[in-house]
Symmetry: C2
């Protein structure tokens, strides 16, 4: 086995043509074995096997520096840079993250999980090299749908200004997570169809030199191409055509679903653990589909992740022009939504919390200053969301809840979510965002008929005294547990409040609490700094009311265990009750 | 005078060829008169006179809908849509804002002041039109450097997917605020040089139909071109070449300085009120120039506004490759800085607070997760900054101070600023942002020699008791006034603290204050929600300490009077002291 002998990139260069072919086959086998048991980004890595071999054959990493866009396509790079064991031996599977990571290896330069960053970051590496008077090659590997993101386009536009070595490998597999969207992909197609010869060439139009490799899964062809551009004295694009999921039939045939895969049966490709459990994505899709039939101006928008709001390929076909996938282009998505709302349409943008970060200015400038009634559904905004450091979802409250005009809602149950969703697409007064609950679905049983036009009106779900618990969204149920436990421990029933609104405080209610309450507890599923609870605390700042805020510490966590994180932040029933009783005894 | 007779766009269509030429001359005269007295965006509007006339001659606004990018190029549009008086009569100059505004006119659809938004917003208007089954023309007018922004490129990439009417007028004046940067401008040049005939065409490469108008200051040629694309059933670009500042010699000759002009003498072009006062931009440029000579890896980065960090054309030439203007591309700027730092370079990015919004994800993902030691200087982050609703600078604290790993500093004097700037480019541990003080320069006299490596160590500038005033950055001087006034009123000396760090709290110091203090006051030059003061309040939440937070209300203000805003938010010495004494009496 060759792969076992690859301890550093120079070992790749010891292999001959045939051995490199065997190496590629071994790498695919290792990928298949690991991903079938462990899950991970399947399609992007299967397509990049040969290109990664060729890159390490031609260039001298880590002196030459490679930056993988998103870096979920860097598994093969990891295999060839001293980390093969993490792909060969199950006990080492978790030794590496799913993304590039300088803490793991000197061959990695950035922790990266969002798309469209590689060209700009590589420009930075190259600029520093030039300032230092050094000569190494800097290589950005981009593709897999990342090109449509604003940062990538800004980077490509800037690159020619460097006027020095920069090699941009465009991995064209004709796919984003779902199908590609945007006019530039028609140009990639034209270039594929003309063997790279078409005069109308996006990269040349941006001032970049350009090379084309038709068979991006042919190691030798790639080696030839990379040798040609090595030590180039100016920025150059190498456009390589690869096949997403190459080498595993189920993945070749259904590229969208095999972008990322949970553990599966290698023989059949079927998932090992299937779940038919109701989830918020499915609920959202069904609800919107129904509403779209009644309102032909209702339009669902995604930026490359249609299934987050439940729009499978089948559903997308059914609703036709009432669904828009803008590709990976979150800035455009929010501006588009604002424009639709400004002209009397009814837009709903569904997005993961971690990707909402990519469009702060559009939320503020294009949407909220204009106060247009678009709805934004924010998924995985929770400690129960994605746990890779690059995909954390619990920074959204400080990020967006402090933008004026936005109404940010935190439902606590399925019924409340649907009522808020319904209101968000019915009202015409505000930009409205909804923080889709994290964790499993909780049903309250009965439909919710609150009037959310009464902005910042909190719901008192249990009237008590001495202590009041203000428990936001996902953590409302934790608040309820705390309330029950206090009753059990002291015989005294605390007040329990579902605030519903993240973006404002119910001053009247908070004022009333002063009469017969001494302690207010806030609980939120996000970081404390700049968050919801601090607003309550500020309200009580000049008063004798004691306030305890519960939430997460401001820090980047990586591949964390939810239970441990909750405990560390004292976000458990027992620890909160302990704190409350201790404080109560001091009063 | 024809302009006086233009009460709506249809009045433009009553004029013949010669009269339209006279109208253009009259509009320039009105612009010159108003801008010489009032100040405003000069170059962009002087270049757009004929194009605006032609647009309103051909299209039927407001049924046909025009979206002006940035909208500081919409003065002529305002003149032709019922707002001529605001350009003809001094007493009406302030009836209109400097940007498009739906509250002013049914011919405006968005409040806009940031670049690169028009194509995406127009796509939204077009999408809603299609969903409603209507047929009007939607026109986006973009140019003047906006094309390099990620949102614009995302929008251009998406536009072909609309497959319906959208007219994108690219106003190519060969300039951003400063000279254009980025490869796409070389393509615009190629298109200009080939009369639009070059096969390699950025817009075509993005899947867009394309028309070229060589003389974009010839009303008749423009009318012809617009007539051709009117009612187009697919998205189309009309590339028009205009001259920035056209018709006023000083502005034609010095396009950078005439992008925006303060009031000036019409005859000479010289500013009416010149200021040689020391300012933070100048200080920054001088300091960095000096340091660049010692450190060849020190590189200053701007995204299209080089003078904000004091880099005039002359200084830029002097430092050569140690200054990088990425064009209007804030996302790229931050990623570039992170890349430079990752490879051992020393990047400093200077940016207006309002534009920093455009790069939230890069701050978090590209920079802070990677913990790279780049420095970011944030200008006009203050109530004393720009006062247009589109350019407010006081939302930065909630936006960025809650991102982990970032060290955000708030200097209070010139000496402290320079010490922090020096530390930011010397240390190698953290991404560091500095909130350049607002208002005039305050000098403390002596150099500051604090060690900022002691993160979150606040400075006690006056030790007292009972009350402690924590006064951040620009408002430290207000805090000092309050402290003095309390001493005067009560004989009791309060403690005064310069926190220096926005991103963390000095727990030890705050704990110590509990011993002999009953009230803590925080004062900050930004919105209260999600801001600095709330962090202090949270710390004291469970304790008997009373806390009063002073700062701005979370709201979009427009063209405000600073004094009024401060008073409304009780941000004056008198009002704060009044509150403190009242609260003290209750204790």
């Amino acid at each position: 086995m060759y792969l076992e002998q690859i301890n550093q990139p120079s070992d790749v260069r010891k292999l001959n043509k045939e051995q490199l072919i065997d190496l590629a086959a071994e790498m695919r086998l290792a990928l298949l074995e690991k991903l079938s048991r462990h899950g991970g980004h399947f399609g992007p890595n299967f397509g990049m096997v040969e290109a990664t071999i060729a890159l390490h054959y031609v260039f001298d990493s880590p002196t030459d520096k490679m930056v993988y866009d998103i870096s979920h396509q860097s598994y093969c790079h990891k295999m060839l840079t001293g980390r093969k064991d993490s792909f060969l031996y199950e006990e080492h599977y978790n030794d590496v993250t799913g993304f590039s990571n300088p803490d793991e290896s000197e061959h990695d330069f950035f922790i990266l999980g969002h798309t469209s960053t590689s060209v700009s970051l590589a420009c930075g590496l190259a600029k520093a090299r030039d300032l230092k008077g050094q000569k190494e090659n800097i290589i950005a590997i981009i593709g897999d749908g990342s090109l449509s993101g604003g940062e990538a386009l800004e980077g490509l536009d800037f690159a020619p200004e460097l006027k020095s070595n920069l090699i941009i490998v465009v991995n064209d597999n004709d796919m984003s997570i779902a199908e590609n969207h945007g006019g530039l992909y028609s140009n990639l197609k034209l270039l594929r169809d003309t063997n790279g010869e078409a005069e109308c060439n996006l990269f040349k139009a941006l001032g970049l030199d350009y090379h084309f490799v038709k068979d991006g899964n042919d190691t030798q062809k790639l080696i030839e191409a990379f040798k040609k551009v090595k030590d180039s004295n100016h920025p150059v694009v190498v456009h390589i055509c690869t096949q997403k999921g190459k080498g595993y039939l189920p993945a070749e045939q259904d590229r969208e679903n095999w972008h990322y895969s949970a553990p599966f049966d290698k023989e059949t490709g079927k998932p090992l653990y299937s779940s038919d459990r109701e989830n918020y994505s499915g609920l959202t899709g069904e609800f919107l589909m129904k509403k779209m039939k009644e309102d032909k101006t209702l339009v669902a928008i995604t930026s490359g992740t249609p299934t987050v709001m439940g729009f499978t390929e089948e559903k997308r076909k059914e609703v036709g022009s009432q669904f828009v996938d803008v590709g990976i282009a979150e800035e455009h998505a929010v501006a588009l939504a604002s424009g639709i709302a400004a002209n009397g349409g009814n837009p709903v943008y569904g997005v993961y919390s971690t990707f909402l970060q990519r469009t702060y200015d559009q939320l503020s400038q294009d949407l909220c200053i204009n106060n247009n009634p678009a709805a934004i559904l924010i998924f995985a905004a929770s400690v129960y969301g994605m746990s890779d450091v690059t995909h954390l979802g619990f920074f959204d409250i400080p990020m967006i809840s402090n933008i004026p005009n936005l109404v940010y809602l935190a439902p606590t149950t399925k019924e409340e979510y649907l009522a808020m969703l319904d209101w968000s697409i019915t009202q015409k007064e505000h930009p409205v965002a909804i923080r889709v609950p994290g964790g499993g679905i909780i049903s309250g049983g009965d439909p919710v008929d609150a009037d959310f036009n009464n902005l910042n009106q909190y719901q008192v779900t249990q009237k008590g005294k001495k202590a009041a618990i203000v428990a936001l969204g996902t953590f409302y149920s934790l608040g309820k547990e705390v309330a029950d436990e206090i009753k059990k421990a002291t015989g005294l029933q605390p007040t329990l409040i579902n605030p519903r609104f993240i973006t404002g405080i119910d001053e009247k209610l908070l004022e009333e609490l002063k009469v017969d309450h001494e302690i207010v507890i806030t609980i939120e599923d996000g970081i404390l700094d700049g968050g919801f609870g601090e607003k309550i605390t500020r309200f009580y700042g000049p008063s004798p009311m004691k306030v305890l805020n519960y939430g997460l510490k401001k820090e980047f966590l990586d591949r964390y265990d939810v239970k441990e994180v909750l405990k560390k932040n004292r976000l458990t029933k027992e620890l909160i009750v302990e704190d409350i009783l201790k404080l109560a005894n001091q009063l």
